[in-house]
């Protein structure tokens, strides 16, 4: 027989009290003074956990852009007040934080996400609540949401040009392609598109190999052995969508087993200056990467951008200080903020629908050169650059498209019948044959 002690009562009381306290947080916040009231924007990047390595730099560059804009008087005279939250590389926290930013903090726009999982988990939140997200990272395409502006590369702005370069005489006329990636949606879709592209260009199916490893996979002995056998006889290259952590052990094993970048180059699609910062680049020298921006781009705008970021890092005491680097997603995040500001000024409002319409066709003098937002498909015109990895973790630019490449969210190799248009259609639509 058990009596109900005072203790037990206290315990249940605690729970109720806890609930009550939590409810109190839901009370509406005090409305600030009118006038030069700051406009809130959200920054949704992981600051801890596995993705922190990549996403912390994006937060830094967005805050730097905000400082720049505020120094010049803000947006329509109002200073920007960034709300920075940490979804801690947790996909369900991403959804929760997105809801918080849109519903609690009522931000005008959010700059965030990196992995496709994080984007897919916040997408319903943005669509249901008519929010606006600027997404700066290369991705697999096949998406075209009204509430997202994709400032990173589509497959046809990175994947296909990289393969094309290797097939060309200048790139070395490679005939055999080993498609190696980490096992998640970006490499899977990327390789689907690359395979379709290669087959369309007449590469026989026997000369294409596809393989996937899990995240944080460390032991590449078997796979490098396979690549060695595949590459025997020359004319083979590797198209790598290996992500993050696994790159170092892969490149090291590659070099240690005697494969050289002149004989079997690796074209990486997910290795940028920020990742090279933490790698022993000895094994990577001579291998290639394809992006829409490199820190070594020689334009006055880029010099200004790089110096400004290094100064910012030193001033704020960020780890790495003046040794910090800039890369493609950072540049995309940076001009994303400016594009939004320009659009808001053009629309003379922060209302999401008005700003969205004002974004279409916007141009900006980005560090890499002038870029333009597409007129109706939510993506961005960007140039394509091929770079060769140098010992100091920078890239030597060995090829560059003359102008910008038009983004195709639905690749003409795998979904030739689909298009994306928010002016004449409701987003994704079936093209008439």
């Amino acid at each position: 027989m058990s009596t109900y002690s005072r203790r037990d009562f206290l315990k249940t009381g605690l729970v109720a009290a806890g609930a009550g306290v939590a409810v109190a947080h839901g009370f509406p916040s005090i409305i600030g003074a009118q006038g030069k009231e700051p406009v809130k924007i959200g920054v949704l990047h992981s600051l801890s956990g596995t993705m922190a390595i990549s996403e912390v730099s994006l937060r830094d560059v967005v805050l730097m852009a905000v400082d720049e804009i505020n120094a010049k008087g803000g947006v329509m005279g109002r200073p920007i007040s960034p709300v920075v939250v940490d979804p801690a590389s947790n996909w369900d926290l991403f959804a929760e934080k997105a809801k918080q930013l849109l519903l609690q903090d009522k931000v005008a726009v959010v700059f965030g996400c990196w992995t496709s999982v994080s984007r897919k988990s916040v997408l319903p939140v943005f669509e249901n609540n008519n929010g606006l997200l600027f997404y700066p990272v290369q991705y697999e395409g096949e998406e075209c949401s009204k509430n997202v502006f994709y400032t990173g590369a589509c497959p046809n702005q990175q994947l296909v040009p990289g393969a094309e370069y290797l097939m060309s005489k200048e790139g070395g006329s490679y005939k055999k392609f080993y498609l190696l990636g980490t096992d998640y949606v970006f490499p899977r879709t990327a390789n689907k598109i690359l395979r379709a592209f290669l087959l369309a260009k007449g590469v026989p199916a026997a000369n294409i190999e596809e393989e996937y490893t899990p995240f944080s996979h460390q032991d590449y002995q078997t796979i490098v052995g396979k690549i060695k056998r595949f590459a025997s006889g020359g004319g083979a290259c590797v198209l790598s969508t290996i992500n993050g952590d696994s790159n170092v052990p892969f490149y090291k094993e590659f070099a240690n087993q005697g494969l050289r970048s002149e004989n079997a180059p690796i074209m990486a699609y997910s290795v940028a200056e920020d990742e090279l910062r933490g790698m022993d680049t000895g094994a990577l020298v001579g291998h290639l990467a394809a992006w829409n921006y490199f820190q070594s781009v020689d334009t006055p705008a880029n010099k200004k951008f790089v110096n400004a970021f290094k100064e910012y890092a030193q001033k704020k005491g960020l780890p790495g200080g003046a040794k910090r680097v800039t890369d493609d997603p950072m540049e995309a995040a940076y001009f994303g903020v400016h594009i939004w500001k320009q659009a808001a000024e053009k629309a003379k409002s922060f209302d999401v629908d008005a700003v969205r319409k004002a974004v279409y066709g916007q141009t900006f003098a980005a560090p890499v050169g002038p870029i333009k937002m597409h007129e109706y498909n939510q993506h961005t015109y960007r140039p394509v650059l091929i770079g060769e990895i140098l010992k100091d973790g920078q890239f030597k630019i060995i090829s560059r498209t003359k102008g910008n490449v038009e983004p195709e969210p639905w690749s003409k190799y795998t979904s030739p019948d689909k298009g994306c248009d928010w002016i004449n259609h409701q987003g994704t639509y079936q093209k008439k044959a």
């Binding site: 390595i53 078997t222 090291k252 240690n256 780890p319």
Partner: protein, 550 residues
Amino acid sequence: MRRSLLLLLLFVAWLAGPPASHAQSSEALKALADLAVDDTDRREAAVGVLGATRDTKWLEFLAALRDGNVYARGKGTTLEIVVGGAKTTKGEQDVIEIVTAYDRKLIGTVPVASVTEIAADRRLRIAIKPFLDADETRVQLASPDAEARRGAALKLGHQADAGAAAVVEAAIAKETVPNVRHALEEALALIRLAHGEPAVRVLAAQALGGLHSFDGMPALQRLAAETSASRAEREAATVAIRQIERWSLLVRTLETAFQGASLASILLLMALGLAIVFGLMGVINMAHGELMALGAYSTFVVQNIFRARWPEWFNAYFVVALPVAFIVAALVGVVLERGVIRRLYGRPLETLLLTWGASLIIQQGLRLWFGAANVDVSSPSWLSGGFALMTGLTLPFNRLFIIGLAAMSVAAMYWLLFGTGAGLRIRAVTQNRGMSSCLGVRAGWVDATTFALGAGLAGLAGAALTQIGNVGPSLGQNYIVDSFMVVVTGGVGKLAGTILAAAGIGGLNKGIEPALGAVFAKVAILLLVILFLQRRPAGLFATRGRSAEA
């Protein structure tokens, strides 16, 4: 089209003909001036002329053109072509240092605005490439670096270009390094296979078979299927193919065996410290992974110190880093043990949670101190590359080193536990704490020492791991579950259990991997461990009664 044909002809003539004189001929100077005009065809032709001179100075100039370092400078009414060097800022202006195109004589430093860059667009670069490639290969063949020579030999073999045969033969006569010589002989055979007469091709096919040349397989397969070839040729090709395939099977088996041994040694190194602590003290240490991370970061710090202070001794940093990693991890282990774990003996589930909490704190601490990004730990030169055991089988030095390190650690442990007084005391306290205490053994000290030993081994493992993987704050997470699997399978009765478990798991994993792929091989191993524990719930060598024999 016509231009490309002309270029091709020039290139072939260049390959076949003797080297031109080392002077600036008038054609070359005219071609140089042509580079500044707006007509791409003329520029392309100019490149062809300059390349055809086969003068190393002109080839260097072409390399500078390809790299975007060539400029045009107005000098009176004519344009002078110069090569630019470093760009600097003098006062308000950006200036650049320029030298003459051929002799590289310094002209001076001029404002950047006064020179126009001659851009090497794609067509120009494609035109330049063959000259530079051939030259580079030729230069590489004479390079003092064996790896560069080998790379050049491989490239010549792939190109199978008749004109290079003489050069390769000459190189073979001079070559001393076996694997480079092998590559050269392979290249020669491939060239002869592509261009020789039937009798020569038969010999070449046999040579390729004897050399066990994987690179030659595609060419041999083509020959075997060629209907226009004679029977002798096709037979020779088929025989060679079979020879190479048999060899390939042998190589693959040995490769898998080595990979299994390598994985086993890594698992052993990681699990050894854990097994000692768990076996001798009953403490399950979830912070083991973070102690490994601490060892790895110590290696990083030592590397940086060497890079800054004693760069000429850089290759020695790793030797110094190993004991440093051991000591750092051991110290942290002692702090952990004396500070918190001591209060929880006899409560393994609680120590599990406690050490997990400690691991999160250490991890976040590393992240805050060193940054969230991975850090770069370079391999010393004696650990880069591999040992070419036989054709097609290269054993990387870093993995060989780890196998050696694991073996030495095990031997050291055995010696410590069975050959020294300290080891005797450790075993005594484990078997019967009370009695040992009565006999004068300071149990507290022994606990601390044992834990420090286990932690130090973790640090050592972390240092070794820097050579084959990433170094980042979450390094510990990647390996912790594998370490536990080994300890749990091996049981805590004997050290031999850990060794056998590591060998078994490592070997099995690599054995299954070619068939199932990396992920499912790992899943299969995990499930096998679970099933194995059904038969032996406390591992391979469980303790009997209450005493622990190692």
